[in-house]
Assembly symmetry: C2
Homo-oligomer: 289 residues x 2
């Protein structure tokens, strides 16, 4: 049976930055009507704000998520990874038969494992929208722009192809520009580099400089490299530790390259250094195309 | 005698990205007329392009810089640091008595030393506009935006206060938002962090990843951290090596912070890691205000 978005009741578990941005996008870009959009969140003020903003028909307290889930044909789990695992355990019986579930967690190994063994009468396709903003929370969800951004899916062999196609169509409608399908392991190794390593580096850069007036000497590079250091500390702590195997490998690869450059600088090896920087420039230029 | 910009003949030595951007800004924001703006460059096509674009009245080949300098009341040296030193040695006799000279080099120690011992009948105020673009050269100079950016000056005790004031007024007219005056040593230590360390880190990030299709997994962080890896390799080689004392100190401070984070991640020390990331977030947030 083909799933039609206009017939779907949609539930969002967790109205933080991403949950809020998805709610806005479903309403503004995908034609989901307010009466068919629900959300649950631990914060009742957030739920009220979302209702008043014309996004959702009804908000459910975290303890009443089951009441929401029983009517939802499509569910977005917009929580931190460990909270998603706990949510699935607690509410496994509450999901509506035949519903399509997806999530937004920045690590996919443990989520995909939980999805794999989840109830057979529902379909859970793990995903990761590659979007964000410097400030977190529902109040900042308008700052989270999906246009042209990447979206990673790590489909399971048990996922139904029509559900996967439905989700991909929806993701493009939301504004994302490119969907990549990989295994959870491949996702976690790639993201360890593009996302987690970058957040560790940005954090280390701020960690090593106490002078907050240093921005008088900023020309854009420092600002660009450290903007993401304004991070959601509990979430990133969880992501770093959850994916620490892949992340530590990436940190060590980065340290080797940093050491190589440092050694060329320290030895004033101009010709070698220039050659290496040219390779870097050319590689990064290809990445921009 | 008070210097008036409308009476000044202005010369730009080096019409690269920054020389070109300064020429545009002098013409568009500061009211400098085309007939009073000259440039010299090693590339005759660039000089022709600048003339055809209505920026300069006349272009001088590098070997004929002296002909330009003899009529200039204000000179911008827009060359790499070592090229500036060479230019000053070669053309010391050619500068017009009473002229005001400034430069744009990203390291200030050696330039300030050269300025200190330069001809006593001219006034050289070393400077560093904190602006740039991913692509270099005159052809990209329109991409180099000065609006609201930082400008660092490292004035010498021998500089005349009226010349310093004149230059500061001009810098603000060009669109820069904040001028900071420090010693050359302080400049080089601060810039080693905000600029050079950031370029080394961005380069190391690209150096350690061969897969140019990695951008499918990018969500903005990786792109922001590595945009500056599309660097002018000869110029940055020179800047890194010239300022290597301060830069190596900064790399080592960064490595210590990176090691500390790595150790917390590796040990899965969630509480400690979260606390450290919160300090980072708060510090970076203060830097944004």
């Amino acid at each position: 049976m083909r799933r039609n978005l206009e017939d779907c009741t949609v539930g969002i578990a967790g109205l933080g930055l991403m949950g809020g941005a998805i709610a806005r996008s479903l309403r503004n870009n995908c034609g989901v009507e307010q009466e068919r959009l629900f959300a649950c969140d631990k914060d009742s003020e957030t739920l009220n704000a979302a209702k008043e903003a014309g996004l959702i028909a009804q908000g459910f307290e975290a303890e009443k998520a089951g009441e929401m889930l029983k009517s939802c044909d499509l569910v977005f789990l917009c929580l931190n990874p460990s909270t998603i695992i706990g949510f699935l355990e607690k509410w496994e019986g509450a999901f509506k038969t035949g519903c399509l579930i997806t999530d937004i967690a920045g690590t996919k190994g443990s989520i995909a494992a939980a999805a794999e063994k989840f109830r057979k009468d529902v379909d859970f396709i793990p995903g990761h929208p590659m979007a964000g903003a410097e400030k977190g929370g529902f109040a900042n969800s308008q700052l989270c722009n999906f246009n042209g951004k990447n979206y990673i899916l790590t489909p399971l062999s048990r996922n139904k192809s029509e559900n996967l196609q439905f989700l991909k169509d929806l993701i493009y409608k939301m504004g994302f520009g490119r969907i990549t399908e990989v295994t959870p392991g491949e996702h976690d190794r790639k993201i360890a580099f593009t996302s987690q390593l970058c957040h560790v580096i940005a954090s280390a850069l701020i960690d090593c400089e106490e002078d907050t007036a240093i921005t008088r000497f900023g020309g854009g590079s420092f600002e660009d490299l450290t903007r993401i250091a304004m991070l959601n500390a509990p979430m990133w702590t969880e992501l770093f530790i959850e994916n620490r195997g892949a992340l530590l490998d990436r940190i060590e690869q980065f340290e080797k390259s940093l050491d190589a450059l440092k050694s060329l600088i320290s030895g004033a090896q101009a010709a070698e250094l220039e050659k290496r920087l040219e390779l870097v420039r050319d590689r990064r230029t290809v990445m921009s195309i």
